[in-house]
Symmetry: C2
Subunit: 104 residues, 2 copies
DNA sequence: TATATACGCAACCGATTGATTTCATAATAT
DNA sequence: ATATTATGAAATCAATCGGTTGCGTATATA
């Protein structure tokens, strides 16, 4: 079982789930209504998201509310960091070039 | 063919390729030396990365140098933006709470 | 010109994925 | 107590994935 965040966010339905529960915790049934798929399929996606700790359960009677673990999302941000450095660098270079051209 | 960036970065080998060529353009052969897999397998990964425009080819004689399209990486950053807002908000709230506790 | 090198592409294969169907279980409502 | 509702879990299936092997082609070298 290769359960990491990157594999988790690879699926468009899972990304949509993440976006939905980022705003407020939701039950599997409520989530399923937003998609063109069965409740069970959504449940399976939630299991994957739970396994890689992107999502937290909150039991409330017979309902289970799923909430986004926002902090876990930062791991993607952390991976992006290395490239952010590069694209900012390039932006700086472009900036300097433009400044240089202006001077002339 | 479901070829989007999120699916592209789901594979750990592809993420490693991205990291490697972020520093400098490389040929498939040079890349393959870094992995425990065949040149053809790397080539296949490069094809996927090329298809979703995360990578650009630069022909040079019989060699093909693959270079990272850093700008494309920003699309992941853009998707993360919505959550960044949330986690900064939470951090602010924690900050205010701490300030409040200090006052007392 | 013959050979070696760098590479992409197609065929194939086992493992994984995402979905459905069916079932079991626990909480709530009648 | 019985029916209903909310849910997870297991079995199953077609599609996709990541890998290998074998081939064709273009460029470089002998």
């Amino acid at each position: 079982m290769r359960r990491d965040i990157f594999q988790a966010i690879a699926d468009p339905t899972r990304r949509a789930i993440i976006t939905l529960i980022a705003l407020q915790a939701m039950t599997p049934n409520a989530l399923a209504e937003h998609f063109d798929t069965s409740r069970q399929a959504v449940s399976k996606h939630l299991r994957i998201l739970t396994e890689c700790e992107l999502v937290r359960q909150e039991h409330k009677g017979r309902e289970i509310y799923y909430q986004l673990e926002v902090n876990k999302m930062k791991e993607i941000d952390k991976w992006l960091q290395q490239f952010r450095k590069i694209w900012e660098e390039r932006f700086d270079n472009l900036d300097k070039l433009l400044a240089k051209m202006k001077k002339k």
